[in-house]
Amino acid sequence: MENQFLIDSDKLSPAALEKKHRLENDRSYRTNHMEYMEGMEIINSDVCENVMTQVKSFDYGKYSAKDVKAALEHESCTIEDFKALLSPAAEPFLEQIAQKARLETGKHFGNTVYLFTPLYIANYCENYCVYCGFNCYNKINRMKLNYEQIEHEMKVIAESGMEEILILTGESRSMSSVEYIGEACKLARKYFRMVGLEIYPVNTDEYRYLHECGADYVTVFQETYDTDKYETLHLAGHKRVWPYRFDAQERALMGGMRGVAFSALLGLSDFRKDALATGLHAYFLQRKYPHAEISLSCPRLRPIINNDKISPLDVHETQLCQIICAYRIFMPFAGITVSSRESAQFRNGIVKIAATKVSAGVSTGIGDHETKYSGKQKNSLQGDEQFEIDDSRSLNKMYSDISGEGLQPVLNDYLYV
């Protein structure tokens, strides 16, 4: 198989290695990624068809400078305008696009920038997603925090001043059950004003349960909307089921969550098509659930433990900026999050144009906040990171940097009702 991703660990048994290689090389050995597994809820929704019809017919080569100029002049951005803004023809207009994006951001968000931090509580994973540091064939330190450890991590983070937390797990239902995650949400409610979740997709009744436990926002990365490419990257495990993942945000809203976040992992496939799909996924779902709060993330591929060669290929900062600005102009009201995968310099620049939320004080490892925040070495085990971050600024540093740019950092603008 072509790619930068495949790495064999010398810790794997011969049988495990053989299975791994078969999964990688033998398409017939892999399950049908479009078929639901047992227990996965099927909802009646037209959102996927609406999105994918547009994405399949998206021929970005056909857009010209004229289309881009028209998109910039229009008062509201149509789907065609959005496509033009994502096309290569828009690249020479990046500065003008950024100017327009900044105006739109100002109308809806003024000069505010929201801050949050992720908390990984477990890194066990049952999937083989070839680009991810947590994948089940990657030999890393695995760990699942117990409730006491979770609370300790939360205390350390809360003491730094953070008020919004995003709880993450590796995707393992058996190691990190819904009940376990629910208990983590209840603990988080004690220390934080806002609790978001980025976990494996679950059914509507499970989202409802997690909402009752205190979570109100659900983030699911579709990774890539290109189903054929998706099949070649997610070789085993429940994450392989593409449509169940696609409908996750809708199930979360049906379960009573206030808001949902969308994302493609840029660099996995054709980034222009993936950006279009991400925007339209959010667009069509918001039309169906007008009360839903919508946000978009725009992560690029990063190196992982045991494979430092992974890179976002053709998605350079210019393209990333173009995508973020196109998102902003297409959906002026949506939150846009830029994570610590990006550099401090990029994040300082993009919050002045279109991003409205950034993370700070970030660790993608397990149980290591005290070490990372205070430099104090712990005797207990720590779990390895999902990927390498770039911007390691603390909350205090981020707060003062944002203020220094003339923007107002906001730690909380939320009530659980």
């Binding site: 105006l103 109308k107 709060e293 107002q408 730690l411 603008d413």
Partner: protein, 256 residues
């Protein structure tokens, strides 16, 4: 002019400019109030719900009346809960009811707003409902115990001005409570126009937050609002719709 007071729920104000607070730097709030000459400032209860050392509440001078809003509420029940929390947080008895179940345009839900207004007015709040300008709804809000009516000029943050002008005029003409134009006012001239029509006050936030020089823009709004108010009180002169008026009166033939 000296006795021209804005009266809301029995409270008197000299200023007719209500400021928003949520979209710009906390350090600018004091200057904004000063240059705007504002006596009322809104703040989102959800934004005040913070442990941050820089709580927005601490940046608002004590002599200014707080107008907490219920943004984030998707129905009457949530708005009532948020209003009660505002009272617990020490934000006083004023509340601006904002109920939205549309994250794109942030248009208010009039039906739920009537319900929340009634509950909160009965609990002793001075209720200032944000609404889409509809005469029947405005009448229902009056009956529900509202202290003012706050119709939108155009969508929040749009800076598009008086898109709903005709309907706001109907409210001004037919409703006895102060009509405070809220949302969408992007320029001082638009604020002035609304005041000339007879609006009792203007609420603005984004127009200031996105201005190059916030205190200067606050000052500009202050003067525009005062000018509009004076024009309204003085009685506007005639406006010719087309051409000149006939010098020979049409009714000159009448004989007594």
């Amino acid at each position: 002019m000296d006795n021209d007071k804005l009266v809301i729920g029995g409270h008197e104000f000299d200023s007719r400019f209500i400021l928003g607070s949520g979209k710009y730097s906390l350090s600018l709030i004091e200057a904004a109030i000063k240059y705007a000459g504002a006596q009322i400032i809104t703040l989102a209860v959800r934004r005040a719900n913070t442990k941050d050392e820089e709580n927005i509440l601490d940046f608002i001078p004590e002599n200014v009346t707080l107008l907490p809003n219920t943004s984030g509420a998707r129905n009457a029940k949530e708005a009532v809960r948020i209003a009660r929390l505002a009272r617990e947080l020490g934000c006083g008895n004023f509340v601006k009811v904002e109920i939205m179940r549309d994250s794109k345009y942030l248009l208010p839900d009039n039906t739920e707003t009537i319900k929340a207004t009634e509950i909160l007015a009965n609990e002793g709040f001075v209720v200032m409902p944000y609404m889409y300008p509809d005469l029947n709804v405005a009448r229902d809000l009056v009956n529900a115990g509202a202290a003012t009516i706050m119709p939108l000029a155009s969508p929040i943050g749009s800076n598009k001005g008086l898109a709903t002008k005709e309907f706001i005029q109907i409210l001004i003409d037919e409703i006895d409570l102060p009509i405070i134009v809220d949302a969408g006012i992007g320029k001082p001239s638009q604020a002035c126009e609304a005041m000339e029509m007879g609006a009792a006050a203007i609420m603005a936030n984004t127009a200031l937050a996105t201005a190059g020089d916030l205190p200067l823009m606050a000052d500009a709004f202050k003067h525009a609002i005062e000018a509009g108010r004076k024009a309204y009180l003085s009685g506007l002169g005639r406006v010719l719709t087309r051409g000149a008026s006939a010098s020979d009166p049409l009714t000159g033939f009448l004989r007594n």
